[in-house]
């Protein structure tokens, strides 16, 4: 992206292109999120003008998000099994390894899709790997969607633990 790019249309287009290029290079695998859905989610969490670089840590793919050379955080797409299908979710941290947000990218179960709604997701914001991240403790369940609430919470807990450990080990910078 050119530093001299004016704000407005050009910047937005440049962002979309950079995000899409990063994401479209992924092979199409089962239970992934559509690239456009992922790009939109990253834009929502980190705002316009963010640069997305794809990194490899061990065998995992991690997105490094920055703007004008300043690190904003890391994001990862993972799957966790709900009742009978995989739930594809995004975990997004800030530069201090706290959760900036989570997102449900693809929900495939017949009931329980309320875990995708903002009022439930926002409970995760600001949590670090020191938090319990347990339904019934620091995360309220969605009544009637116990399996999805527990599955996503467990998945987020694991992803956050990994991202934090990789950072501490210097594998992510």
């Amino acid at each position: 992206m050119r530093a001299s790019a004016p704000f407005g249309m050009t910047a937005v287009v440049a962002l979309r292109v950079s995000v899409l290029l990063a994401l479209l290079s992924l092979p199409a695998v089962a239970q992934s999120a559509p690239p456009a859905r992922l790009a939109k989610s990253i834009e929502r969490v980190y705002g316009d003008g963010a640069q997305v670089d794809t990194l490899r840590v061990d065998s995992a793919r991690v997105y490094r998000i920055s703007r004008s050379g300043t690190l904003l955080g890391f994001a990862q797409v993972r799957n966790v099994k709900g009742k009978d299908q995989q739930i594809t979710y995004l975990v997004a941290t800030d530069s201090a390894d706290a959760l900036r947000d989570i997102d449900i990218l693809v929900y495939r179960e017949p009931y329980g899709g309320e875990v995708a709604y903002e009022p439930w997701r926002k409970q995760f914001r600001g949590k670090t790997s020191n938090a319990a991240l347990q339904v019934g403790k620091d995360i309220r369940n969605v009544s009637g969607a116990t399996i999805s609430s527990n599955a996503v919470t467990r998945g987020v807990r694991r992803a956050l633990a990994d991202l934090t450990a990789w950072r501490a080990a210097g594998k992510l910078r």
Binding site: A30, Q85, Y117, P119, Q134, G136, R140, S143, G144, T146
Partner: protein, 382 residues
């Protein structure tokens, strides 16, 4: 601009090669790997009613296998096959092998999934969510058996989804087969009128639906069911909505800290109950109504605050009457105005395994045949 017909044909021909190309692009973003998943739930009961000649009984009440298959990101098949009471044997009571659900979901958008096949009318709490770890008490609430006839399943087609622009509002609507009035009874209402997807008569269709609103810890729902029940019995009528049954229901689930509350109310109107009784010689009520309230507290939140296990102490009070209204000429049976109080414990080492125990006081307005029951049970889902 006007084009002569040959020009249009030529334009269409030119566009043809683009069509397959666009289809490929669209599907390239969707995983094409199919997958089959297996799950299940079950419960084993020990029930011991008080009174002479009623020894305790143990039973594998339910053993259920889920089988689901995703054909693509948008199309999935889901089913639930149930074995009740471990086996069925000729000439013996009890035991059932039943398909409880078998449907295809075609997801058009988050706001609309087409669901077709053998489905669950979206009424109350237990009918759609009946896995043993999801409710307190060894047996399901009696109200959600005799007023809302869970597990109620019928065949048809409908739409489910999130209401666009809302945060947490969902809907489900279905067009299904109706009930058959010859199965209605005084003590279990419309329960015996369910056809359960077995060579079911579609003489009377039904419409059922639900709107619900969910927030963290809270879910509120309102449901209805409306349909005929005459099943072309010439005595009752041949119209689609003859001998109509109208059901409305509301339910709430609220979890806050260590407390959990839930409640359901319902009202069933059978306007032509007199004609149904005249035809089949029953004592079916013209109105069936009631509800229950339940409160629970996680004792481990005080006893062992760091624990991820749960030990719920609960109390549930049910009140319902399957003859809340009776047609002229029928004398109300006060034993059908039931009051059931259940107190008990549910221990959940993980959220999908439960060990249960409870004690039930089963009373009625007539004071006839009242008893109490001790129940123990284990349940799981995966």
């Amino acid at each position: 601009m006007r084009c002569p017909p040959p020009m249009i044909a030529l334009l269409a021909l030119c566009c043809l090669p683009l069509v397959p190309h666009r289809l490929v692009q669209a599907t390239a973003q969707e995983p094409d790997e199919e997958r089959t998943t297996v799950g299940g739930y079950g419960e084993v009961h020990y029930l011991n009613p008080t009174g002479p000649g009623t020894p305790g009984e143990v039973n594998v009440r339910r053993f259920v296998v889920y089988l689901a298959h995703a054909f693509s990101e948008r199309i999935a098949f889901r089913s639930e096959l149930e074995l009740e009471d471990t086996k069925i044997e000729g000439g013996e009571d009890g035991g059932e092998v039943a398909l409880e659900q078998a449907y295809l979901d075609y997801t058009l958008s988050p706001a609309a999934t087409i669901r077709a096949g053998l489905v669950l009318p979206p009424i109350g709490i237990i009918n759609e969510t009946h896995e043993p770890p999801t409710f307190n008490g060894v047996e399901r609430p009696s109200f959600e058996r005799n007023v809302i006839p869970s597990t109620w399943r019928d065949i048809g087609v409908g739409l489910v989804g999130a209401i666009p622009g809302s945060s947490g509002l969902n809907y489900r609507v279905f067009f299904l087969n109706g009930l058959v009035a010859s199965g209605f009874t005084a003590d279990a209402g419309i329960r015996g009128g369910r056809q359960e997807g077995k060579e079911a008569s579609f003489a009377n269709p039904s419409l059922t639906g639900r709107i619900e609103w969910a927030r963290p810890g809270l879910r509120l729902g309102g449901s209805f069911w409306y349909g005929g029940s005459a099943a072309q019995d010439p005595v009752l009528g041949t119209g689609s909505f003859d001998n109509a049954v109208a059901l409305v229901s509301a339910d709430a689930r609220y979890d806050v800290g260590p407390f959990m509350f839930r409640g359901v109310v319902a009202n069933v109107s059978i306007a032509d109950a007199d004609a149904i009784n005249a035809a089949y010689g029953g004592q079916v009520g013209s109105r069936i109504a009631g509800g229950y309230l339940e409160g629970a507290y996680d004792l481990l939140s005080t006893l062992a605050p760091g624990s991820t296990h749960r030990l719920n102490a609960f109390v549930r009070h049910e009140r319902y009457n399957t003859q809340a209204g009776v047609p002229d000429g029928i004398t109300r049976d006060d034993a059908l105005a039931r009051r059931i109080t259940t107190v008990g414990l549910s221990y959940k080492p993980v959220y999908n395994v439960v060990f249960k125990g409870d004690y039930q006081l089963r009373r009625n307005r007539a004071g006839a045949g009242e008893d109490e029951q001790l129940s123990l049970g284990v349940g799981y889902q995966f």
